[in-house]
Every structure is written in structure tokens, then in C-alpha cells.
Symmetry: C2
Subunit: 301 residues, 2 copies
């Protein structure tokens, strides 16, 4: 699923390793440098870099990279709780599209960096229904196995349908089901919902298009059950926006490049009839464009 393109030139491994190690000092400040180096090396070169990095610094480069990603999530989440950059969307993304271990590692990185917990900041800076949903999602450690209990799926589809019919969108049980069940179990429940009641739950959550909480709840369900559709829409809105929403564009491209970018690209093409890299190239320029295209992967490569 990775989409980083690979160049032919063979740079000096020792120099790459030194540059990478420098880029890892500090808090995500040299992300572009890391991307530039790793996006321009092929599998064999990366292997050499990894070995040399281990020999030189006694650390596994992949683990260091992983730590960088969770540090970035901690940073994104912290920004999201601040007054002028607050974004419940970013919190939903970190909570619902990372693996359970990665989400936990972001919480651990948050301790190290901010000397407090994600949940105390989020709980302090939000109120009411938003707080109830966000804190439950961010503190969850979802089971990730494939097991599905069809009996449970049926009974919880019924609960969800009752609550939504009553417009009780922040009901304790509704939030409990969405915030704690494994994605396999939740998908089974939502399929049952669709089969039994004739609509996808996201349709039934469209009651009031202006209600921000309902929008967030729909985004939550999407992030959990079909993240590529969620990210496609985010990219579409970011690119189509007057002036381009660079922060959303960068965030999606950098956090999904090594995860599910291929599926997001397919979804983007299906929905917009334009390849994602063409759309990005049309809307951005210079080094920024180059970096994004490297991460997304060009259709002509």
C-alpha cells in the first residue's frame, strides 16, 4: 500500500544516516528532510540505511520512525485542544484511524512532551456531548481481532436504531458501542443496522446538516469503518477550497502515506475522475508540491 516513488541515483549511506539522525532530534521539525531522504531511496538502499543506522546509533530506524509518527500524533492532538487551532476532526482522526497500539503510543508521547495526559487536556477544553464522545474515543484501547458476535451485532444494531430514532445522539449506550467495540464487531453491527432498518447509519445521522456534533459522529463512524472514504472527502474539500487547506492536505498525505494511500487514491479517482497526484499538482507548487507528490506517488511513475 506504500506509495513512495523510488529514484535511480545511489546516495551515500553514511550521509543519509547522519542526516536522518539529525532530523530526529527535536519535535517533528525536520519531517520534510526525513521524507526527502526516504522517498528517494529504494528497498535495497533503505536496508543499507537501516543497518548502518543500527550500527551507528544502536537504534532501529523503523522504531525511531514509528516513534516519530506517534510523537506527531501527540503534537497534532495537542494543537487540536488549543484555543486558536482547536479541531475535533484531528482528534477523531488520531483516535479512530490509528491502530490501538499506535494510539496508545501517542498517549505515551503526550506524557513525555506535555507533562500531562491527552484526556485531561481534551476533557478540559471540551464540554457536553463533544467531550463525552471525544474522551471515550481517545481513551479506548480497542480489541483488534476479527471475531464477530452476530447476536451482539443484532442487539446493538437495535439499540443504535432506537437511540437514533429518538434523536438521542449522545446517549450513553450509543457512545459506548461506537467507542469501545472492535472495528470488526462494529462493522457487523452497522451491516445488521443497514439490513434490518433499510438505511446506512450515516444516512440516519444526517438529520440536521448544521449540527456540528452530528457531523463529528458521522465522521467517527466513517473513520472507523471506511477510513479511505473519510480521507478522500477530506482531500477533496482541502483541494477544492479557495486557496487550498494546506494543513489538512499535509496532514492526510503525511499520516497515510505508508498506511492506506493506495486505497485513498483509488477512492479519490473513483469519486473525482481525476488522479489525486494531478489534483495536488494543479493546486500546489514548488518543494511543497514535490514532497506531496512523492508521498502520494505519481500515476505516471
Amino acid at each position: 500500500m506504500a506509495t513512495l516513488s523510488v529514484p535511480a541515483a545511489l546516495p551515500d549511506v553514511a550521509e543519509d544516516v547522519e542526516q536522518l539522525h539529525k532530523a530526529f532530534s527535536g519535535w517533528g521539525t525536520n519531517e520534510e528532510l526525513i521524507i526527502t531522504i526516504l522517498a528517494h531511496r529504494n528497498g535495497y538502499q533503505r536496508k543499507l540505511i537501516r543497518e548502518f543506522y543500527q550500527e551507528t546509533y544502536g537504534e532501529d530506524l523503523l522504531k525511531t520512525l514509528d516513534k516519530e509518527l506517534t510523537k506527531r500524533d501527540a503534537f497534532l492532538a495537542n494543537e487540536a485542544t488549543k484555543k486558536f487551532t482547536s479541531s475535533n476532526w484531528v482528534l477523531i482522526e488520531v483516535a479512530c484511524t490509528r491502530s490501538s497500539e499506535d494510539l496508545f503510543n501517542a498517549r505515551r508521547a503526550y506524557h513525555a512532551r506535555y507533562k500531562k495526559s491527552i484526556e485531561e487536556d481534551v476533557a478540559q477544553h471540551t464540554t457536553g456531548d463533544f467531550r463525552k464522545l471525544l474522551v471515550a474515543l481517545l481513551t479506548s484501547f480497542r480489541y483488534e481481532g476479527p471475531e464477530v458476535n452476530t447476536h451482539l451485532a443484532k442487539s446493538e444494531a437495535k439499540i443504535l436504531h432506537e437511540k437514533i430514532s429518538d434523536k438521542a445522539y449522545a446517549d450513553d449506550d450509543l457512545i459506548r458501542i461506537i467507542a469501545t467495540r472492535s472495528t470488526a464487531q462494529l462493522s457487523a453491527t452497522l451491516n445488521t443496522y443497514n439490513n434490518e432498518y433499510g438505511h446506512a447509519i450515516t444516512k440516519d445521522l444526517k438529520e440536521d446538516p448544521k449540527d456540528d456534533y452530528l457531523k463529528l459522529l458521522r465522521a467517527t463512524v466513517k473513520c472507523l469503518t471506511c477510513p479511505e472514504k473519510y480521507f478522500e472527502k477530506l482531500l477533496r474539500l482541502a483541494i477544492n477550497k479557495m486557496g487550498t487547506d494546506e494543513s489538512a492536505l499535509t496532514r492526510v498525505v503525511t499520516t497515510r502515506a505508508e498506511v492506506d494511500m493506495q486505497r485513498i487514491k483509488e477512492e479519490y479517482y473513483r469519486r473525482n475522475s481525476v488522479p489525486l497526484d494531478h489534483a495536488i499538482a494543479k493546486d500546489t507548487r514548488g518543494d511543497y508540491e514535490k514532497m506531496l507528490i512523492e508521498l502520494v506517488g505519481s500515476e505516471n511513475a
Copy 2:
């Protein structure tokens, strides 16, 4: 703080290691065997056992023991959600008297063993205020540093006092403060509460002695701010009970032996004017008595 007594005899290290390894297979079933072996070895012997264990099985005995403890917490928490053994007290203990990493390791062990998350079971088997408090406590990953914000302590002491005056004991902000703040910060807040309003918060939470939720909330505050007092009381009630509450007695002794048993013993003596081991010896017998006394440590040793 450890209280395990050390015998003079020198048993065979290889045999110990084999017995220990056997005891670790399965789910906490041979806890007594583990205790019997390790409680009867001195520091030097344990060092030999640890080295031999590493050589033979390629695992660190201490890490294996730690894993056992978090597996036991997962087991205790699971039992606590079941119909006939349900106990919100055990959930509070696991949530509020373990380190943040140990609590998280228990959640990870829960996945491995039960193929679901602690929080989905607890949220499913509880309702209302109990659920609100328990799920928040169990999913928290508290920051554990010593930093205290006195301004925050003052403002949150005020919030707590307002909510308690209004008898809003399950208020969102009250639960947020208790469930998410570091114990250092929470202690500062509760000290401020005491200074500003003239009572300890636990006194103000005594409104209705029959209210089970209020009892649980008091236990939460005690577990977080002075666990040795909480465990002293639990031991006192378990020992004084007609017929002795063996499950509580075993749970406290086995889970605190290597943590804070010395302080619990001091607290017990201060409150009851009888050494804990004497009280246990009077109330139990045979191998069970022997095991408990080994873990608690005899006053005459």
C-alpha cells in the same frame, strides 16, 4: 517495602527454575507455587534463579512475573464484570492503585485473554453513574510526574466543592477531574479543597451512607491519594468479618506484597493496635495462613 521473609536452606536452582516455568503456564493457576518458591529464597538465590531462568528459557524472570501480575489484574477485572462475582471495588482497585503502565498492561492482557477490551465489558455490564465513573477510571492513562499547577488546583477545588454542595456527585467535571488528573495534581487540589472549605472531600462525600455510588467515589479518592489507608480498611473488614473474606484478603496480600505492604502494615497497626500478621494468623490456618504470613512478613522475623 517488600516484606517476603527469607529462609536459610539452599534449594536446587535448576529445580526451582523448572517449577517456576511450569507455574507460569496457564492463567495464574499456580500462584501459590510461585509464592512458595520465591518467598523461600534470599536475594542471592533469587539472582541465581533469575540468571538460570534467562539461560534456560531466554526470558527475564522479573518481566515474566510482571506479566503474571498484569494477567492477574486482567483476570480480576474480568471476574468483576461477571454476574455472580461482580465487584466494582476490584475495578476501582485495578484502575486506581496500579501504575499507568501496569494498568495499560492489564488492558493489553485482557485483549489477549478475552478477545475484547476491558472497557467494552465494563461499559456493557454497568449503567448510569457507575459506568460513567468506572469506564473513565479504567481507560485513563494518568501522567505520573510530580508537577503541580497550584492555580489549577484552586480552580478545580472550587468546581469540586460546587458540585458536591449541589449533590451532583456524578457531574461530568467532577468525574473528569478525578479520572484524568495526575495523582500529584489531584492531591494538590484536594489539599486546597480541605484548606479552603474546612473539610476533607471524603467527609463531604459521606452525605448518604447507604448510597453505593458515593461509597465507590470515596473509595476512588482514597485509592488515588492514600492507598495504604484504603487497603488497611479492606483488610480490617475482611479479617473481622464472620468467617473471614478470603477472596479480599488474598487479593490485597498478593497484589500489594511487593508494592506497599510495609506501609499497609504500619497503617494496620496504627489503626488496630495489632500487627497484621498476628491478626491474619488468628483468623486463618494451614498452608493458606503460611502463604499469607510469608507475603505479609512476620513482625518477629
